[in-house]
């Protein structure tokens, strides 16, 4: 149970996905509880998808893209960030535990940072345990 948590990482293709590739080429180990979904840009990430993921059984989510000003598409990450600020307050009013969502910037050069973010997030999610509350809240049966 506790060990069996699911963390989904929504990452952009240019910075974080490439950064995670570098983690691999550098052979830096991290927790296998995280699975990466590739998006063109964090700007593409629809936050409703995060909610759907929680409903379907995710216990934690990482959203990661390029550093501010380094976005491959100029400003996608900036929009994502702004949207996230608005969205976060909405989530909090609904009683959703935003500690389960880790927002970060990992560039293509930051292989070690990616491993660190994964590990600290997994650790935190493990402490928080499976996100059964949300699934109950959302009327979804906990898997």
């Amino acid at each position: 149970m506790e060990n069996n948590i699911k963390v989904v990482a929504f990452v952009c293709n240019w910075c974080t996905y490439a950064g995670a590739d570098l983690t691999g080429t550098s052979r830096i180990k991290y927790s296998s509880d995280v699975k990466i979904v590739r998006f063109p840009c964090t700007g593409r990430i629809d936050f409703m998808l995060l909610m759907k993921a929680f409903a379907e059984g995710a216990d934690g989510i990482i959203v990661s893209g390029c550093h501010p000003n380094d976005c491959h598409y100029t400003s996608g990450n900036f929009h994502a960030r702004r949207r996230w600020i608005v969205f976060k307050s909405v989530l909090e009013t609904f009683g959703i535990d935003t500690r389960r969502i880790q927002f970060s910037w990992v560039s293509a050069a930051e292989g070690a940072k990616w491993a660190e973010i994964v590990n600290t997030t997994v650790e935190r999610i493990k402490e928080l345990g499976p996100y059964t509350e949300y699934r109950e809240l959302a009327g979804v049966e906990a898997p």
Partner: protein, 667 residues
């Protein structure tokens, strides 16, 4: 109904050593939509690809998932394989079992399970993939080259000689860059200006090159093949068409004591000046910050003496616009590091100088006409000390990395000194001699063996002045770290090569990445050394990392050849990963509500308004429409559209939701 094939690659031991590939392939057989699944040692090899093609034919596959390395590595390979076998390339996806799984986790069941999950996710996605075809866009066959050092010069000439137009912009009043400041160049000791000046002149006279000096990039919009560059031409305060370059103004200007940049402040220049005699273009500019007229409202002597009335005090900066197909960034480097080391007394002692200053002293066109004379009193130094790695390889005070060129130029400096001051003593304090190039090690050995330069392995701790001598306190680590003191007349610091401090700004204007040291980042350290991650923007020379002239020129020609490849086509094909606004049958036409939220967030101005008209020509609805030439596929619009009317091909809502659900429903 989708018929999907799954192909799991071992990559030798890279994946196979950690993940039970066979088991993954077996598990995949049971995934919804999968009709065939297998594993193989090297999927990207010829036999591997043949295996995929055969399976496509045999099992009538409509979609393919390859579980192998990063899609950033082999996605194009396998998409090509599929299309060769008759399946649209965009019906193929890769699950990253190597970089994101076998290389980052320990061998074991959990890792194999994760690999299975990754494959299931991509199977989920592929079920919703649609065949796509590449997009074609026209190409403006003009290259923009930013920076007129040897890198920019070489690239410009290569492109121009192949018959294409080049716009070369240079920040300084003249092109030439650092190479124009050098005296002689390693490893052949040929005169720098002798080989550079003819190329500078060639640039100026080339019918295909538009040279814009004293100019900087203001902005760059658009995309590969179709950029719009806005260039700021800083006011030179002269009318270049009228000016004949006679030089009367510079001889008459009374403001004569401005430390000259070209001579690294070892000599002076006037307020209206040509940076050096061989400058291209050989026409002056007025340095407004130092001109008495601009600062105090009085003087105008240059204007009085100019025989052609070319002086224009009221000239404004000008913005020019050019249509550009591709860009080469060739902005070079800076030397820095003297302020890293108060213990070496640079700035405090006039005779502690930088390597670039030494170049000027050694140069026949320099302030001493090539004689090595120390700045404080003009005496010829009898004992000279060179410090290698002065600022480089020093995480505590300077920069972490090795500046790469200084071992060689330090050997060169010591040699030049010995050739000019036969009875003098030259010492080099060094940590390692990095001279890996053709005839490079031979060169440094010659300094030691023939010219008897005394190389001492050890860093210097401190330099201080005593009775007119510079006391250099070092250690000889090859003699058991024995302290060594040299009483020198002059000290030369091989200061660090660093990126320009405005490099990050430029990178942001161009949307290319830069590294922690502000050098521009190549698309791949081995296989794409001159490309950036932004299509159509290339790198040449020392702006990517410190490098010497031979490497710079090789890179510049490499960038030119990439651009010539691009310009050899009239149209470009682009990935069809672009946004589309849905269309439906009348009377709906589209679910688009016409709010144009998408338009306001699109970074590429790719969203247009389309008016839907009835037969009578009356507008009945205004909806969004994407220009596929401009759209870069970031997807920001998709996340913003509340009615889900805009979607992005290749990363559609359906695809992404399916991919996530496939992961979560694995029990």
């Amino acid at each position: 109904m989708a018929r999907i094939g799954v192909f799991i690659c071992h990559c030798g031991e890279n994946i196979g050593g950690t993940v039970d590939c066979n088991k993954v392939a077996k598990s995949a057989e049971s995934f919804d939509g999968v009709v065939f699944s297998t594993d193989y040692k090297y999927m990207c090899s010829d036999p591997g690809q043949t295996l995929i093609k055969q399976a496509i034919a045999e099992h009538k596959l409509t979609g393919v998932v390859v579980g192998a390395c990063s899609p950033r590595m082999h996605e194009p390979t396998f998409r090509k394989t599929c299309s060769e076998a008759g399946v649209n390339g965009y019906m193929c996806e890769m699950a990253n079992l190597r970089e994101h799984c076998s290389w980052v986790h320990e061998k074991g069941e959990a890792t194999t399970n994760k690999a299975t999950d990754l494959v299931r996710m991509l199977v989920g996605k592929v079920k919703n993939n649609k065949p796509l075809s590449p997009i074609k866009v026209p190409v403006s066959k003009t290259a923009l080259v930013i920076g007129g050092g040897i890198a920019g010069i070489q690239t410009s000439l290569d492109i121009a000689n192949a018959g294409h137009k080049v716009v070369l912009i240079e920040k300084q009043p003249s092109i030439g860059g650092h190479m124009s400041q050098l005296s002689e160049t390693f490893p052949t000791l040929d005169c720098s200006q002798c080989i550079l000046t003819p190329r500078m002149v060639e640039v100026a006279q080339h019918p295909n090159i538009e040279l814009i000096t004293y100019a900087e990039l203001e902005s760059l919009d658009g995309f590969i093949g179709n950029f719009k560059a806005r260039i700021r031409k800083k006011a030179k305060s002269i009318d270049e068409k009228l000016c004949t370059g006679c030089g009367m103004c510079t001889t008459k200007c009374p403001t004569k004591k401005i430390p000259g940049e070209f001579n690294e402040k070892l000599g002076n220049r006037t307020a209206i000046y040509v940076p050096f005699p061989q400058a291209v273009p050989n026409k002056p500019v007025i340095d407004k910050n130092n001109c008495t007229y601009y600062q105090k409202g009085k003087c105008r002597i240059c204007e009085k003496f100019c025989p052609t009335q070319a002086i224009r005090f009221d000239q404004p900066d000008e913005i020019v616009e050019r249509s550009i197909g591709a860009v080469v960034v060739a902005t070079g480097f800076e030397v820095k590091g003297t302020d890293f080391f108060p213990e070496y007394g640079y700035g405090k002692y006039a005779d502690v100088i930088t390597g670039l200053q030494f170049e000027r002293l050694a140069s026949a066109s320099g302030p001493t006409l090539g004689e090595i004379r120390r700045p404080s009193d003009g005496k010829i130094p009898e004992k000279i000390v060179f410090l290698a790695c002065a600022g480089s390889r020093d995480p505590a005070k300077g920069i972490k990395y090795c500046s790469k060129i200084c071992c060689m130029y330090t050997a060169k400096h010591a040699m030049l000194y010995k050739h000019k001051v036969h009875h003098g003593d030259a010492y080099v304090f060094y940590m390692d001699i990095r001279a890996a190039g053709k005839m490079y090690d031979e060169f440094t050995r010659r300094a030691i063996e023939e010219d008897e330069v005394k190389y001492i392995r050890g860093r210097v701790s401190r330099i201080y002045e005593k009775n007119g001598k510079l006391i250099v306190k070092g250690a000889d680590t090859l003699l058991g770290a024995m302290p060594v003191e040299v009483e020198a007349d002059m000290v030369v610091l091989a200061t660090a090569s660093v990126a320009h401090n405005d490099a990050a700004d430029l990178a942001q204007k161009l949307h290319v990445s830069y590294d922690e040291n502000n050098f521009f980042v190549e698309a791949h350290p081995k296989l794409k050394p001159v490309e950036t991650n932004t299509a159509g923007i290339f790198l040449a020379g020392a702006c990517q990392s410190p490098r010497d002239i031979p490497e710079t020129v090789a890179m510049a020609s490499g960038a030119a050849s990439k651009i010539l490849g691009l310009f050899s086509q009239n149209e470009l094909t682009r990935e069809p990963v672009v946004a589309v606004v849905n269309r439906a049958a009348p009377p709906l036409f589209s679910t688009c509500a016409g709010c144009f939220m998408c338009q306001s967030v699109c970074p590429y101005q790719a969203i247009e308004k389309e008016e839907i008209k009835n037969r009578a020509g009356e507008t009945i609805k205004t909806v969004a429409k994407v220009n596929p030439g401009l759209c870069q596929g970031c997807g920001t619009c998709v996340a913003f559209c509340r009615s889900k009317s805009i979607d992005i091909q290749g990363f559609s809502n359906e695809q992404m939701v399916e991919e996530v659900f496939a992961l979560l429903n694995n029990d």
